[in-house]
Symmetry: C2
Subunit: 143 residues, 2 copies
Amino acid sequence: MEEAPPVNNVGFLLAKASQRWNERLTAALAAAGYANVRASYGSVLLPLWEQDGMRMGALAERARLSKQTMTTLVRLAERDGLVRRRTDPADRRAARVWLTPTAVALAPVAAAVVAELRREVESVLGPRATRVLQRALLTLSNM
Amino acid sequence: MEEAPPVNNVGFLLAKASQRWNERLTAALAAAGYANVRASYGSVLLPLWEQDGMRMGALAERARLSKQTMTTLVRLAERDGLVRRRTDPADRRAARVWLTPTAVALAPVAAAVVAELRREVESVLGPRATRVLQRALLTLSNM
DNA sequence: CCATGATAGTACGGTAACAGACTAATCTTC
DNA sequence: GAAGATTAGTCTGTTACCGTACTATCATGG
């Protein structure tokens, strides 16, 4: 019996590689004791770790996601105890998002987990190809 | 006022590059007169163009998708007039998926569109980086 | 043959993303 | 200071993916 030859085009590989990265990231966070932290929460947490209390719209722009998507992401992250939303008293249309202590404690853990994943990638691809990959993805994502 | 520095890690870039590729693919297909063909249908159509009448499970395996996902993809592709499902008379549990004439006619168009996209990528990254990218993605997707 | 187990596919519910339409609040302009 | 325009965010519905649980059919041992 034959194995079917794998599909091979760039679009397919991009999708699968992205999927695989997220799976591994989620698994590593779970192994580090944060089973309720999903890869997608990075789009909320990374900006907030730099500057807490950002608005929904600023978060969305930063992560290049639509505001609708950010609405649901923040809802889930809040449900999982990582952030809280509060209306900005200075502009009552706006909602500001604040990290919980759990999320603050997570920051160094997440950094270590991502660094380790990155190292794994580098050890498989080699440093040169990893650099090329990074630059290529940056270019493609802005194409 | 400052532009926020873009997020930069490999996982994020993989997601965005994948997203961007799919957007461009969908747009190019629409421009070629196939506005109802989504990028995701590739997972159904590519295998069938090689061998028509495959089973749901074989399609799923080939595209590395779950059978549930294939069920919904085929439902949508059928709604959009690209495939038909028929129960296999030899094994009435199984469903075989058949291309419509529209989908058969699409094959060379899709090949041209993908080739053009691929050329665009190559012209931006250069042939060397494109090759490195391709190999790197293949490796990552199997990690 | 028929009970029992294996296989093919679907149903349901959840996460992750978008577009389009909407509400509420703020700003602008007269 | 109120009418109109803009802005911030949410609601609804769709696509795209998964895991778990289920149904229907087939295969096999006794």
